[in-house]
Amino acid sequence: MSENAPVDRLTCVLCPVGCELEVARDAAGGLDVKGNQCEKGIPFAEEEVLHPRRNLATSVPIKGTAARMVSVRLSGTVPREMLFPILAEIAKLRPEAPVRRGQVLIANVLGSGVDVVATRTVL
């Protein structure tokens, strides 16, 4: 394996140009990003490779109404490794109707700084 073997290839999604980035580990242990046509590509690639953040959407059973489920998501992104711990918290939820779109069902879930919010109004 050569010293600068690519660790990841990804497409920058910050604008419609969609630069194809190649990320390699440099000699000092930092990241070497190639293929970016503007300077925004570098922090984009660094975050996506080193600390990827994701949103999360699922649905939970709801009581007291004909609809069986209310869909939920996070109010913002969290570090990717928090997805499964947060899913376990969401799995404990048993909201009762009425629930309104945007209603916070778990505030600051697991101290992540983001909320679990309903994405649908169920009356």
């Binding site: 194809e20 649905s59 998501r73 779109r101 649908r120």
Partner: protein
């Protein structure tokens, strides 16, 4: 003789998904008086309601939201207008004279519309349509029906799943099943490229180390009562399975994400010309079909990769329908627009002679880099528009605008 009640309206919209909701709004905003919106489900929003993932609304609402939120916001806009909404109502027939036969909880009746917007969406290709050999056990689902069962009905569909096809719904369901504790053994795509969006490959497959194998397909389903395994094989350049490459993948569930088909039974009944390239109606720049006063938008016209574009098409079709209903759209002579090299289709397929400033949607046949897309006159060879793209993918609907007035048949082509 049976007496039939006949209602009238200015614009009737069939289907209340992202395109139909927008069409009803577009019709009102363009001045239509009586607008009727007919939806066969009990709720508005169509397929958006089961698409709980985010990524919707980036173009329409300038923020990324989930499908149910997108549907609810659009439905709230509709509710603010005096639009007559009928849910749980099925349009059984449409005549070329724009008479709808509607069956609803209120009974059966006829509605005569001055203009009609088709927004019925699409449905999924099934196992039968791609002819997978083998037994016929339980456990074979289209990705969208699995999405409905999991997201809306809280059902567990299996324990070990294989996904055939790399369409977006299949990729999104791969992640959804992982969240539900289902082992996803792999995604197999017959083509040498992914048919879904790259974002979904990364966030739905790579994030969870789900294997993706291109150039491979399911050649047999095994199991008596329930799926027990599938046989996967590599395919050659003609997409035929290569003997000797078969391997057995144990699983109890097979999800199919192998394409969508516009749901045009009503258009066929009305004798509307359909395009074999899109599966939807042939339309002009106002989105009018071959039946005067009948317009089409969203996935029933052609398959979109982003809901927002289906809505934008809906706004445009609704506005055109309002103008037709008001008698502001006389019959005109059209020229034809056809796809050239590397272009699967270009839409609209018809253009009123002399029109300037129309934007075309098109899809390419295969992934290409550093291409130039050219819109050329077929008689004169005149170049009406050219646009460079660093790369184009079959999964991404692209746009090109033609500024000059057009007086001849056109061809849209893509060159490396």
């Amino acid at each position: 003789m049976m007496r039939q009640k006949i209602d009238t309206c200015d614009v009737a919209v069939i289907g209340a998904g992202p395109a139909g909701l927008a069409a009803a709004l577009g019709a009102r905003r363009a001045g239509a008086g009586k607008v009727l919106l007919v939806e066969r489900e009990r709720t508005l929003g169509g397929i958006l309601n089961q698409c709980v993932h985010d990524g919707f609304g980036l173009f329409l609402y300038k923020e990324t939201i989930s499908g149910p939120e997108y549907a609810e916001r659009l439905a709230e806009d509709v509710a603010r207008e005096p639009i007559k909404i009928e849910t749980g109502a099925m349009v059984l027939d449409l005549s070329p004279a724009r008479v709808l036969k509607i069956n609803s909880r209120a009974g059966y009746r006829l509605v005569e519309a001055r203009a009609v917007v088709l927004a019925m969406g699409c449905r999924e290709r099934t196992r039968e349509m791609i002819e997978i050999p083998g037994t016929r056990p339980a456990g074979v689902f289209t990705a969208g029906s699995a999405q409905n069962l999991v997201n809306l009905q809280n059902l567990r569909i299996g324990n070990q799943a294989v996904i055939l096809g790399s369409g977006d719904i299949g990729l999104i369901m791969a992640r959804r099943l992982v969240f539900e504790g289902v082992a996803v053994k792999g995604v197999f795509e017959i083509l040498p490229w992914v048919s879904g969006l790259e974002r979904n490959v990364r966030q739905c497959l790579m994030d969870f180390a789900i294997p993706l194998e291109l150039g491979a397909t399911v050649v047999e389903i095994r199991g008596r009562d329930r799926v027990e395994s599938v046989v996967v094989a590599k395919v050659d350049d003609t997409l035929a399975p290569v003997a000797g490459t078969e391997r057995v993948v144990p699983c109890d569930t097979l999800l199919l994400s192998v394409g969508l088909i516009p749901e045009n039974e009503l258009a066929k009944r009305a004798g509307i010309e359909l395009s074999p390239l899109t599966g939807g109606a042939v339309v002009d720049e106002s989105l009018m079909t071959s039946a005067a006063g009948v317009f089409s938008c969203g996935n029933v016209l052609h398959i979109h990769d982003v809901a927002d574009w289906a809505s934008f098409e809906g706004f445009a079709a609704g506005a055109s329908a309002a103008r037709f209903a008001a008698g502001e759209m006389p019959a005109r002579e059209t020229v034809r627009v056809s796809p050239g090299p590397h272009v699967k289709y270009a839409l609209p397929q018809l253009l009123t002679r002399g029109t300037a400033g129309v934007e075309w949607s098109f899809r390419v046949t295969c992934p290409l880099r550093n291409v130039q897309v050219v819109v050329k006159g077929k008689a004169t060879g005149k170049v009406y528009a050219r646009k460079k793209f660093p790369r184009v993918l079959p999964s991404e609907l692209q746009k090109i605008k033609v500024r000059p007035a057009v007086e001849e048949d056109l061809e849209v082509s893509c060159h490396e």
